[in-house]
């Protein structure tokens, strides 16, 4: 029996090894080549979060050709595995490492202290070191455009919102949507369903069906698959794509999509390392810097298209502020306005309340 168990374990281990196999050291590369590593939390094929990060990696290869050599590790779970993977990349000679999920935060800091000559870029974190930068997208800006479009398109005045987890990033998205929608239709309603997962296509589809069956005629999501767009298309209503342009899955349904576009940032950071002027920083960019972009506005009348484009331009120019004060919370109390005429970045990043007009409670509060 012992031999048998060993055989099974070897089989198991060799499969688990598949995902990290790509990190094995390659033969010594020429010293003028910059080695860049990437750590993804999901599969590059999720057509969402990790997929978009990998698009940016490919763009780097395209931009710099032989001058760079990239390595990526996908489906790396947060925690001990994350730390080991980051360290492995550092030891393999990568001089710049993009670590693309919030949960790696402590691992990045720990490894960074051990490898002071390696530069780290951590997506959506808040801890920094002289050799650790942080960056994230202002996704709520895209939500403001979506809320505007949704309020114009919805005939019943009921929006359906599929949430992953009730974390500030998702909550601020819901609030930005409803604040923008209320400007068009003060009585707009939103029904929110949590699926407690970033990626579960079947459940996302069920959530979309439930919302449509209960009267929502525009579906929005803060989950990663194209299931909701597909269901909306099948049922003849409208929806928004998430992370990527999902028009393929809903040619008649998709109004637009928020696209996470990491390419310009990644290219600029690789260039900074090559030029020797990389410095630790905290970057939180949105429409203005094209870190988030909108997919083409489709399936809507021209006047709505124009309104959407104007909103996009307004946000990029800073004339439209998604969280412009005064903002009322659910009890109708005015929220303290720390950013002058709008909420400040800290308030947006830590948002944990619903604004007035949302007839629901944040789970666990």
């Amino acid at each position: 029996m012992n031999k048998a168990i060993m055989a099974a374990l070897v089989l198991t281990a060799s499969c688990a090894g598949l995902s990290v196999a790509s990190a094995q050291d390659k033969p010594e590369s020429k010293p003028d080549k910059l080695k860049v590593g990437f750590v993804y939390v999901g599969p590059v094929g999720d057509f969402g979060w990790s997929y978009q990060h990998d698009q940016a990696r490919q763009a780097i290869v395209k931009e710099f050709g032989d001058k760079v050599e990239t390595t990526y590790l996908e489906k790396v779970s947060e925690g001990p595995d994350g730390e080991r993977s980051i360290e492995q990349l550092a030891r393999a000679g990568n001089k710049l490492i993009f670590v693309t999920s919030f949960g790696y935060m402590d691992s990045v800091i720990k490894v960074a202290k051990k490898y002071p000559d390696v530069k780290f870029e951590h997506a959506t974190g808040y801890k920094r070191e002289p050799n650790v930068s942080t960056y994230a997208g202002r996704f709520y800006e895209g939500r403001t455009i979506q809320g505007t479009i949704a309020a114009k398109i919805s005939k019943k005045g009921v929006l359906g919102y599929i949430g992953s987890f009730p974390v500030p990033e998702v909550i601020s998205g819901i609030n930005a949507t409803i604040l923008a929608a209320q400007k068009i239709n003060p009585n707009i309603k939103v029904k929110i369903v949590w699926v407690n997962s970033w990626f579960n296509p079947g459940k996302e589809a069920d959530a979309a069906k439930a919302l449509i069956d209960q009267g929502a005629d525009v579906i929005m999501q803060h989950t990663d698959s194209a299931a909701a767009v597909q269901i909306a298309n099948e049922r003849g209503i409208h929806a928004f794509g998430q992370d990527s342009d999902m028009i393929k899955f809903g040619p008649k349904a998709q109004l637009t999509a928020i696209i996470n576009n990491w390419t310009p940032y990644y290219v600029s950071r690789v260039k900074a390392v090559m030029d020797g002027n990389w410095a630790s920083q905290d970057v939180w960019e949105g429409l203005k810097d094209k870190m988030i972009q909108m997919a083409p506005y489709t399936n809507m009348p021209d006047d709505v298209k124009k309104l959407a484009a104007d909103t996009e331009a307004g946000i990029a120019a800073g004339t439209i502020k998604p969280f412009a004060c005064p903002i009322l919370d659910q009890e109708g109390k005015e929220v303290e306005c720390k950013g002058g005429d709008q909420l400040d970045d800290g308030q947006i990043r830590g948002m944990n309340f619903y604004v007035k007009g949302i007839d629901d409670k944040i789970p666990g509060k």
Partner: protein
């Protein structure tokens, strides 16, 4: 379409992949083999089913590819767990991990591709009957197939000689062997059947449920199917009831949220598992501590020579 009707329809769709995968595992376990590889076999079925349908444009061929993939992976399990008498738990877990890796590898080119969803039956007049019309006469073919399958399983297990031999192999392989039955061959067939069902269950996800492919589509449904077999205490009738219950809870909690009932969604998601534990406790009490599992479940059988 009324809300009640819509909810019933979604429950059927949510229950079908669970019922398919659990039906196969029921037969496997009745033959005394515990295959924890259901999740892996579903994943490989999902990707191969999609690939088949994508290449040929035919849902039926897709479904066959899904079944074939599930059978192939379960053959590997059978070779290890029955042929080499390796620990079944370890071999099953290895199959799930292998299936996950292979599915990712095979599926990489299919991410972002589109196929047409499995066609739904539509009978004029009948499908238009309010409330039950769509429920009875408006489903896709795989739903009817899964119902036929479990009915056939119930019949075979209870009424036929084949069923009797299968149960004998699961309860007392030594006696079955002494009577001249080839335990390994019968168990292997049961495992392959289970693999085919799991493969089809996976294919249902990519062909009918959400007609696209993405890695990790099954999202743990294979494990739910395993729990379902225990919940059903290895009986086909209860398996149907269990699948509907598990499907219903997952759909109803979404509706409860959308209505704004304020039920914690995490608690609702845990309900089927709590129910499984409760059912086991109740069964065990009725049986005064005895187990209803096939007596030789999970133990390898190597005939003495």
């Amino acid at each position: 379409m009324g809300l009640f009707e819509a909810i019933l329809l979604s429950i059927v769709t949510a229950s079908t992949p669970l019922l398919l995968a659990a039906s196969g595992e029921l037969i496997t376990e009745r033959a005394g083999v515990l295959n924890l590889g259901v999740e892996g076999m579903m994943l490989i079925g999902a990707v191969c089913g999609f690939a088949g349908a994508w290449a040929t444009g035919s849902t039926a061929i897709g479904a066959l590819c899904g079944i074939a993939a599930g059978v192939a992976l379960s053959a590997l399990f059978a070779a290890a767990a029955i042929g080499l008498a390796i620990n079944q738990v370890a071999a099953g877990l290895a199959v799930t991990i292998l299936g996950t890796g292979l599915a990712g590898l095979i599926g990489a080119p299919f991410v972002g591709e589109n196929i047409t969803a499995a066609p739904h039956l539509w009978l004029p007049w009948l499908t238009d009957i309010p409330l039950i019309g769509k429920l009875l006469f408006g489903q896709d073919a795989l739903v009817y197939l899964s119902i036929g399958l479990i009915a056939a399983i119930a019949y075979v297990l209870a009424r036929t000689r084949t069923g009797l031999i299968l149960r004998a192999v699961g309860d007392d392989p030594a006696s079955a062997h002494a009577l001249g039955y080839n335990v390994a061959a019968i168990r292997t067939r049961a495992v392959l059947f289970g693999g085919g069902c799991a493969g089809l269950a996976g294919a249902y996800l990519t062909l009918a449920y959400t007609p696209f492919y993405a890695p990790g589509m099954t999202a743990g449904r294979g494990w739910i199917a395993l729990a379902l077999v225990v919940f059903a205490s290895w009986r086909p009738g209860r398996l149907v009831a269990g699948a509907i219950l598990f499907g219903a809870v997952s759909i109803l909690q979404l509706h409860a949220q959308a209505i704004g009932l304020g039920v914690p969604s995490q608690l609702m998601s845990a309900l089927p598992y709590l129910a499984t534990v409760l059912v086991l406790v109740l069964i065990s009490r009725v049986r005064r501590g005895g187990s209803v599992a096939p007596a030789a479940l999970g133990t390898a059988f190597v005939p003495e020579r």
